[in-house]
Amino acid sequence: MSKPHYDRNHHVEKATDIGDPQCFKGEAGKPRFKVGDRVRVRNLPDIFYTRTQGYVRGAEAVVAELVYESPPAEDESWDNTENVEWFYSLVFKMADLWPDYPDYFPNDTVETEIPEHYLEAA
């Protein structure tokens, strides 16, 4: 019986003394969005694995910060680290996320990090 061969050490060698996601710095190319841009979260299938919360899908947000470059969780969790992309810290208005959010807190927001391939211009 044959056994699969796992390339066990490539990630630990790349990240040792540097850190993850710091070890992917410079691999994502030019970012599609900049701070202040309005974006909308794509409603991609969430089968098997995702870290893009269901409750932000289809909602609009403002880019607060470009935080780091990394493979998306969906890829890195199977050790696919070739496709590195920018991660954006996005600010959503709570009232945009929750239909019954009370009117007397109109300025409440939530901020969370989403990878670039989930985003489209709003």
Partner: protein, 143 residues
Amino acid sequence: MPSSIRDKVHRHLDICRQIQPALHQETHAPSPDMIDNAHFRAYTRSPHDIGGEPDIPITWEEKEEEVWEHNTFVTCEVLAWRGVWNAEERRRRQNVEVGETMYLGLPYYGRWLLTAAKILVDKQFITLTELQEKMDEVRKRYE
């Protein structure tokens, strides 16, 4: 289009809350026409994505980590240093691959420890027979 996505998101969260595992609930082996697209998505989502699902408040308690929890953490870190998994694969296995029943039902480090054993079997570093024999050997020390 976005507003219809938002409607789906909130319907999705309602369904997810309803399918949280409960004992004595007759949901086994549904016929295909009992599962529409919305229910398929709810069942196949990543069960750690619980944000927005209504639930009752739970009591917050200050609790120091126990020795077995520290040992479990160190074991999982060493598996990463030896290239058995990276942090994201560890999270996927601990939070999603365990399934919704174990995600909600086991203690936090219980899921870490179970997953550390599982990946060694999945990637054929040990066989399941070896694991089961070792567990039986250790259990006998306490009988």
